[in-house]
Amino acid sequence: MTPDLECADLTKQFGETTAVDNVSFTVPPGSFFSILGPSGCGKTTIMRMIAGFLDPTSGDICIKGKSVLDTPPNKRPVNMVFQHLALFPMMTIAENIGYGLRRQKIPKDQISRKVDEALDRIGLPGIGGRKVDELSGGQKQRVAIARCMVLEPDVLLLDEPLGALDLKLREHMKIELKALQAAFDTTFVYITHDQSEALVMSDQISVMNAGRFEQVGTGQDLYYRPDTPFVAGFIGDANRWKGRIERVEGAVLEMRTETGLAMRATASNDLSAGDMAEIFVRPETIRLAASADALADFDNQLQGTVTSILFNGAASRVLVQDSVGETLEVTLPQSGEFSGLHRGDTVHIGWGAAQAICFGGGT
């Protein structure tokens, strides 16, 4: 099957700086593809090149197998939902949605029928006569998507459209966007710096850093099996240690950290004894216990003092200082077992080697 969108060796330079560096990816039809990266990593540049507002320095962009490099933005079969939505404030909602159809010289009665259908689909029937500023943030969001979807584009680009919404609405819109994507059955390419948006909605996520794709995969791939230290650090949180590998025993390796702790982690092929390496352990994989006995099954065990409790509902954490003075973040279970935990208490923590990911090259 021809991919809906294919970028090959895409590069964009602004003067001396390379914003996008040799990026290639394909997006299969009907899928939700996210580009996730910190601000300034070049993700918006990619999107603007796909939309046609920027010309790539080199490389090719194909939509449904055809190169669109010579097609101006108003003729490309892609549409874009802008960061601040960019609804036309001088028009009503119906005129906003009908704008693209009017450009295609479609008869008036058909336009109004299609606009009504689109409004039904986004769950806002009968608001066509209203002004843009009479709508709430979430409604504007849906109108911005409907305005693109009436044109039946091959690919819909979304540039951090949830950024301007408040937290509660953002959580709600994540689910809604995913549902809209399924309802319209169109390929979505979504840009965000918010990992939770990408993880919740996407079929495929590419993590981008400094103009390059670090890893492309499903949310699970990125979370459980990161390819690079950047991905491991960017998706989710992690405690990190740097050190030198002492032994490799089959699937498990042992590293001596710079502070002198011995630590066991999952081995990867290209590491052998004597290499410098970096270990990542997620706070939620660390088990908290009152006594060392409860942690007998774990490869790594430490004793420490609670220095701080970061209460954040379900995502609460404790900061534990170990014997050599490093501070670790550990997820606080909400089962009630540790509800009496205070600053200064002594706790035992442990985690398995399988949950500790090791990358070579740490200096």
């Binding site: 046609g52 101006p72 960019a86 036309f88």
Partner: protein, 285 residues
């Protein structure tokens, strides 16, 4: 506290009331009264509408009146047509320093008086002036060309004088248009013309209307430019008011002319607002 606020309010309001009362309301009431009287003999006046009757029946007066109105509307239109692309360039296409420099360049001519600026045009356009000499040098004319004292020269002067007052509101409104809204217009399939017509112009409408009102009023009330650059046929209504007051000492007719000009500008501004479906509040607020 309340009495303090009251005193502050009164203090702030007083200059405004004095200004409006002394400089606008009282002179206009007096003008109205003067325009509504007729001189019977030395020092004897009678209330009558004779001045307005004279103004509306004398062909020269009437012709000048309408000509001034039409030419002012034309000057406003030409100013808008020239200022819009320039304002769009300054507001949307120029970036950073260039934007500031261009805007200041628009402002610089206004550092010198209108009189000096108009003399500048005279130096350019007169028979022995720069343009005339340039044309002869280039072989496009075989004798000195006189370009002053006609409607075209006057129009050039009027447009030049009013340009800034069109630029400022246009640049301000165009700057407030989000670039991504224009991009969205293209992204959804619009061409340059439809984006201009459906997005940029509707957005800039408050600036267009307020710029047009200011420029129209300035042109209508302009005295220097038509007098200096216009020819014998280009009589401007303000010149006639001046003639009646100063040259003929006929204050009654002059006051009547003044009131006709006031009514004319009010009617045309009202018509302009009606045509564009705006209220004065929206445009000036």
């Amino acid at each position: 506290m309340r009495s303090h606020a009251r005193i502050g309010f009164v203090l702030l309001l007083t200059p405004l009331v004095l200004w409006l009362g002394l400089l606008i309301v009282i002179p206009h009431i007096d003008m109205l009264l003067i325009s509504l009287r007729e001189r019977i003999s030395f020092g004897v006046y009678e209330t009558s509408a004779a001045q307005y009757q004279k103004a509306l029946t004398e062909p020269l007066y009437l012709r000048t009146f309408w000509r001034t109105a039409v030419m002012s509307v034309l000057a406003t239109g030409i100013t808008l047509l020239i200022a819009f692309p320039v304002a769009y360039y300054i507001a949307k296409m120029a970036k950073g320093r260039l934007q500031q420099v261009l805007f200041i360049l628009c402002l610089i001519p206004f550092y010198v008086s209108e009189l000096v600026r108009t003399f500048g045009w005279m130096i350019l356009l007169r028979e022995t002036g720069i343009v005339s000499n340039l044309l002869q040098w280039a072989g496009l004319a075989d004798q000195p060309v006189e370009m002053l004292y006609n409607d075209a020269a006057m129009m050039v002067g009027l447009v030049y004088t009013s340009m800034l007052f069109m630029m400022v509101p246009l640049v301000t409104t165009l700057e407030s248009l989000d670039d991504s809204v224009i991009e969205a217009g293209y992204d959804l399939g619009g061409g340059g013309f439809s984006v201009l017509r459906e997005i940029i112009i509707p957005h800039a409408m408050p600036g267009i209307v307020s710029g047009c009102i200011v420029v129209f009023m300035l042109s209508l009330g302009n005295y220097l430019t038509p007098t200096m650059l216009g020819g014998k046929d280009s009589l401007w209504f303000t010149e006639m008011i001046y003639n009646q007051f100063i040259v003929r000492s006929n204050w009654e007719l002059g006051a009547a002319f003044g009131f006709m000009l006031l009514v004319l500008s009010s009617v045309i501004v009202w018509g302009m607002l009606r045509l564009t479906g705006r209220t004065l509040q929206e445009t000036m607020g």
